[in-house]
Subunit: 204 residues, 2 copies
């Protein structure tokens, strides 16, 4: 793709993300996106075919894929449970601060009103958390009762539910502190008896 076409696609995607994150999908029109990006409506249809196409592109750009997390996930110099905790903060911060991630999360919540299948990251997160917990178990850093696959699924649901619901109830500014409180109520259950409070990776 030519540089100019790439720049146009990007500016449409970012304008759409900003509007979807603020107003939601239904309240955002192709005209709003064209006005917000300084491009024509024709450019929206040329590059993304439809408002649905643009919604799928926004979700795929960040929320569903998280390419920026690969390096942290694979960093074997950090113990696996610490990596899991650090990943959760990376995600929570993006959900609070990054407009394209926020837009993806909001679009996924509104998926019933969007006439296109939207991808999501939860299966990927659960697989990653399962591997990290399995590594912790091999290293003797996991309570024996904790089964990695089952715990991973529950942690992903509780984590994402906590972030979404805390934001809805108390505002985005409270999410990171609430996440710290949650890890303090969860980590001792993951660690072997006698090591519950060992080397807390919770910042602050």
């Amino acid at each position: 793709m030519q540089e100019r076409a790439k720049a146009t696609r990007r500016s449409l995607l970012e304008a759409a993300a900003r509007l979807f994150a603020e107003r939601g999908y239904a309240a955002t029109s192709v005209n709003d996106i064209s006005a917000g990006s300084g491009r024509t409506s024709g450019a929206v249809y040329f590059h993304y075919a439809s408002k649905e196409g643009l919604a799928v592109a926004v979700v795929e750009d960040r929320f569903a894929t998280w390419p920026q997390l690969a390096q942290r996930y694979a960093d074997e110099t950090v113990p696996p449970i610490e990596r899991l905790v650090a990943l959760s903060y990376d995600i929570a911060r993006a959900l609070v601060e990054d407009p394209v991630t926020r837009a993806g999360a909001r679009l996924w919540t509104e998926r019933a009103t969007i006439n296109a299948p939207l991808p999501h990251p939860f299966a990927l997160w659960t697989a990653a958390a399962t591997r990290l917990l399995a590594q912790a178990r091999l290293a003797g850093q996991l309570r024996t009762q904790v089964r990695p696959a089952c715990a991973a699924r529950t942690l992903v649901c509780a984590f994402y539910g906590l972030c979404s619901f805390t934001e809805a109830l108390d505002g985005a500014a409270t999410v990171i502190d609430r996440l710290s409180d949650w890890w303090q109520l969860t980590l001792p259950s993951l660690r072997p008896p006698g090591h519950e409070d060992a080397g807390s990776p919770v910042p602050g």
Copy 2:
């Protein structure tokens, strides 16, 4: 109020709850509620003034108030953390099974689209959980690092987020099992060291 008027109010409320729970607020009209209850649209306006009035009444009837939980909350023959866990199962079961509770929860989620302030139960739940955790602390049944008010707020957000998000992702039938998994990842963190697995109140 006369018995006949009471019966009419109740049948309107239940028909509305069924429709709100299934289709959501925006997709349910006063005519649908009238048809679903076998009453006239005039009866809706006479008893509830508007669709908004009916939405508030549905939310207040169960979701925001939970009168059925008072007895279990106050049952001092049961240790406080066991009461907290039992209350969470009562709530989760109602959120899965009871149409009026489900309708209230869905309406609260859709509150941005409803032109009336909707009450919610979260401050009440947090206050109740704080008291139970404080009682557990007094009885020496709480890990010393756990601060009741802070933990209560986090547990309420994680619990409700978990239930909502598990249902959205994996369906209502998985909620109770996921809640058991969550308590197994949370209770050891609440209990004093050496008592993490004491007398698990998680059913099944």
